[in-house]
Amino acid sequence: MDNSRFRRQLILLLALLIIVMFVSLSMGRYSNSPLKVLNALWYRTGLKQSTGAGMDSGLDPVMDSIVFYVRLPRIIVSMLVGAMLSLSGAVYQGVFKNPLISPDLLGVSSGASVGAALAIIMGASLAQRQIIAFLGGLLAVYLSTSIPRIFKHRSNMMLVLSGIIVSGFLSSILAIMKFVAEEQTELSSIVFWQMGSMAKVLGKEVIAIIPVFVICTTILWLLSWRINILSFGDLEAKSLGVNINQIRGIIIICASLLTASSVSISGTVGWVGLVIPHLSRLAIGMDNTKVVPMTVAMGALFMLVIDTLARTVSTVEIPLSILTGFVGAPLFAYLLYKQKTMVQ
């Protein structure tokens, strides 16, 4: 019924995303006007023919390689990471019918971190790192959701608390791994990766996470209406003929894959997976068929802005989690105030 409003908002958001992308591409230590960058991009895609005289793209070669080999991959990855974390948060909230959880609060991020750190110590490739991180994340969801079952006490609060237990325990394991890691090589790369930075992102990271993003997002979008039904609880979902274990299983696997592969690239970036889903629900309502695309777009935009700030605000890189905390925590406080029913 709110279809036209939804479409308008989504188109607006995507337009904004493209504009911010160009602005971000032109910002940095070597800054340039967005129009020049646009022009260069035009040449790159081959849509505009070379005039034959002198510089093809309108950018000098150094600038050209910075924009296309350093900034562009980083921008793409930061948008994907934002979209992935936000979408997995929205989906976990839906299937666990609990608006208070997120990939970090469920322990998925910590589990994936343990897996990714293990992969770094073992010297595994990026693809292997994603797989091991995924297994760690999946184990963590399993543990967090088992505790309320074992205690025979299911409530929103209990799930949040067991997420805290699981992620606390996993953080200690991560600390042990850092302790035993070799100081010169492994430790520094674990620490660097865990702080949540896109600074080292290159084309190979883009290639590594795009398939995960495309496949999982498509599946989750196709199942988005079923997420509405699962959020009614097991009894109602079953009475509506939904194969709850199968559908929920697929959704949890996709969401955990999204979390794990973003964690294996950029470490744990807090708040995004909690705040962005709420923000998109505030904009468009609760229906997950709209929340899913909205969250993807909003998460991408949010993370792009944060990462652009991270690399431009000061001369040194600011870790992403610092910025997401600064923006996300007050935002969540505001959202709590707006939707008090969430904690009832």
């Binding site: 019918k97 929103n156 009475s239 003929g241």
Partner: protein, 264 residues
Amino acid sequence: MQIKIEKISFSYNGFREIFHNISFEIASGEIISILGPNGIGKTTLLNCLAKLEPPTSGKIWLNGENMTAMGHRDVAKIIGYVPQSIVPSFDYNVLDYVVTGLAPWLGTFEKPKEEHYEEASKALQKVGIEYLKGKPYSRISAGELQLVSIARVIAQRTRFIFMDEPTAHLDFGNQLKVLNIIREMAEEGYGVVLTTHNPDQVLLLEGKVAVFDRKGQFYFGNWNEILSDELLKAIYGVNLKICEVEKVCRKACIAPGFNNKCTN
């Protein structure tokens, strides 16, 4: 269309037996009320009939087909379920909620389209609350919420409707409104099974009763053949009378006063 229940039993983990060897039948157009004291297993029985919980033993035949062998989706095309209370985790719009009734008729990866939303609107219209369709369901009253649930079952296009205490949490006016809707639905051909704590509702609905007394003994039959002062005493442990009340031209189930003035 009929559901045949054949000697079903239910126990938790093989220990605490809830009910034992129960058999009866439900046909289209019938109303069956399940009566019994608190915690005796009324809801468990209802859930077993709707394939929401598996009976420990016994069989349920849905139009001659073994229900245990049927998928949830196929059962959901025939049996609709109205839960006792909806505790919303997310504040969906009424129309978004009602349209989920069409879930068994849509493919797993399908989303509702314009026509499905229209069907959901029609279901709301049928129970007279189309004006609520854009409202978030936290903003409507308990009575309206019950009607929204009923609208969803109508959108589900089932032949049977099972309701767990459809009048709990409702004020007296809304209770009677819901009972009236139940009667109308039975007249339209739905088979309705409900649980209730109020024996007088059985006399208003007429139809059949399934009764658990306090010892867990099970009785089944037409309301006027089964319900008696003695059985009511066996269910609730207090004195209740079924009497003809001329002013309303029906039999009613009434509790005597506490002051022992009455000598009948």
